[in-house]
């Protein structure tokens, strides 16, 4: 019973070794395809991260009219803003907080002193404000317009059309990336299946002989499937190492972000590990599927 279970495994390993040249070409094909898939996935997932980060960082600043600064008025306004679909958080910032923030954002210490008199009671020219975050960057304009309709709102700002354009552009890049990853994955499956198919085509005589001596299809198929899995496994080693260590290296030399803090890369822990596991699963699955399709097709030919 045990030997029956292990026979295909042992024969699968022997098969890879017996047809070393063909196995190597299949392994190479798996390797190249998975490297491309890995690069595309790294790109796509990071662009998604950028977009999400950007969407998150774009806030709508709502200033409150001087005549509506009573606590109950502001509670009413906060609730009205929260009720707008797509709004995730509403944070209140008092006019004193606003002034502090403004003064702190001035780099020149001499210039800071110019604003000191405004700290005195009744002299603060700033407005109370709300900072609103939304779940979808593409709806900024629409939500801004809705906030403007609320009574007591003085002014609403969200970074203008350029912010929504940047979000839209990143979304487009992300979509293209996802499409490319999908297409490339399909191409990888096709490429690997084709290589394995050629390998098995060269061994169709072998399949015929096995049938002649009375082997059932399942008996013949087993070792070939294991061969496919082994080829997938071996072919995914280099892409996994490149992904795992390469991404960590990239993260290390860039300090975890590109150009500015807005473009933060995904943390290698767990991203590199998850991507490596995905590549391993893909290699094994594609190797198995390629072998299964090719062998089954050749075992169907006659009685």
């Amino acid at each position: 019973m045990i030997s029956r279970f292990f026979r295909p495994v042992v024969e699968g390993f022997k098969g890879v070794w017996r047809h070393a040249a063909m196995s190597l070409s299949s392994i190479f094909s798996v390797m190249m395809s998975l490297i491309l898939v890995s690069l595309m996935m790294m790109f796509t997932f990071n662009v998604r991260r950028f977009t999400q980060g950007l969407e998150h960082s774009i806030q709508i600043a709502v200033t409150v009219d001087y005549g509506h600064e009573a606590a109950e008025e502001e509670d009413r306004m906060a609730l009205a803003i929260k009720d707008i679909p797509g709004v995730t958080t509403v944070t209140f910032s008092s006019k004193d907080d606003e002034l502090e923030y403004y003064i702190n954002s001035v780099a020149n210490e001499e210039a800071k002193k110019l604003f000191e008199p405004y700290r005195e009671d009744g002299k603060n020219p700033m407005h109370d404000a709300f900072y609103v975050e939304v779940d979808d960057g593409s709806r900024l304009e629409e939500i801004t317009h809705q906030i403007e309709q609320i009574e007591g709102v003085d002014e609403v700002e969200y970074g203008g059309a350029s912010a929504t354009k940047l979000v839209s552009a990143l979304n487009l890049v992300r979509l293209i990336g996802m499409g490319l990853t999908g297409a490339l994955s399909l191409l990888a499956v096709f490429l690997i299946a084709n290589t394995i198919n050629t390998t098995i085509e060269n061994r169709s005589m072998e399949l015929g002989i096995m049938r002649n001596v009375g082997a059932k299809n399942s008996f013949i198929r087993g070792p070939f499937l294991i061969e496919g899995i082994i080829i997938g496994l071996l072919g995914s080693i280099v892409p996994i190492l490149m992904t795992y260590f390469g991404y960590r290296y990239l993260y290390g030399i860039t300090g975890g972000h590109l150009v500015s803090d807005m473009f933060v890369l995904l943390d290698p822990e767990p991203f590199a590990k998850q991507l490596s596991l995905a590549l391993l699963a893909m290699g094994v699955f594609v190797g198995f599927l390629g072998s299964y399709i090719s062998v089954t097709r050749r075992l169907r030919w006659k009685r």
Binding site: S3, R4, R7, R18, H19, M205, E206, G208, I209, M210, R211, N212, V213, G214, A215, K216, N217, F219, K302, R303
Partner: protein, 230 residues
């Protein structure tokens, strides 16, 4: 042991390969089937090993109606007959030992038994020392002996040999014939040997069935090559 009754075979492309074949071969017999190219010899072999089904009539081997076998039953049926081909059909990346053992692994035989069985048949065909060799390292005659050893490893009741001496010189052909005769005597295996090697047929006389244009032209119990030797 083998019984063909009113057998006709017409291929899908319209070629009529066999007409009204009636043939009975008893257990332990050694029979030649001779005939020129296109006479239906190969079709007869394909009907016997279950690769083809008759258009009409029945083909029974060891009591099994081969034409009625379902596709899934064919491999199991083939374990009961041995087939030897002109081109040997050995697995090139398997050693001699592994080639023979494969036919026994297929039926789930125990490893220890496989080892002793393979040694036994290698001894019978005179290749005791070639177990670890690969087919390409052997001569044509030796490769054919390996193919015979593989075909009989499972102790089949019937051995079908399709032009087993076709690629061999007269000396090697004699070697193969003596191996086949030894098997026929030692195990009582029924042997059907398709050939157009007049030298072999005339030298090693046995019952000879001559096919021509898909018909049985003659069935000679005393043997001899009666066709034009072309």
């Amino acid at each position: 042991m083998i019984e063909c009754t009113d057998v006709y075979k017409r291929y899908r492309n319209g070629v009529n390969a066999l007409y009204n074949i009636n043939l009975r071969i008893d257990q332990g017999e050694f029979v030649y089937v001779i005939g020129p190219t296109g006479s239906g010899k190969s079709t007869l072999i394909k009907l016997l090993d279950g690769e083809e089904v008759p258009t009409k009539g029945t083909v029974k081997v060891i009591g099994i109606d081969v034409g009625r076998l379902r596709r899934s039953q064919v491999p199991v049926y083939r374990r009961n007959i041995g087939v030897v081909f002109q081109d040997y059909r050995l697995l090139p990346t398997f050693t001699v030992f592994e080639n023979i053992a494969y036919a026994l692994e297929v039926i789930g035989m125990d490893k220890t038994l496989i080892r002793s069985r393979v040694r036994g048949v290698l001894n019978l065909v005179g290749l005791d020392d070639k177990g670890n060799a690969f087919p390409k390292e052997l001569s044509g005659g030796q490769q054919q002996r390996v193919a015979i050893a593989r075909a009989i490893a499972n102790r089949p009741k019937v051995l079908i040999a399709d032009e087993p001496t076709g690629n061999l010189d007269p000396t090697m052909s004699d070697e193969i014939m003596s191996v086949l005769e030894r098997i026929n005597k030692a195990y009582g295996t029924t042997i059907v040997m398709v050939t157009h090697d007049s030298g072999v047929v005339n030298k090693h006389r046995k019952r000879t069935v001559a096919l021509e244009y898909g018909h049985i032209k003659a069935d000679l119990p005393g043997g001899g090559y009666i066709l034009d030797d072309k």
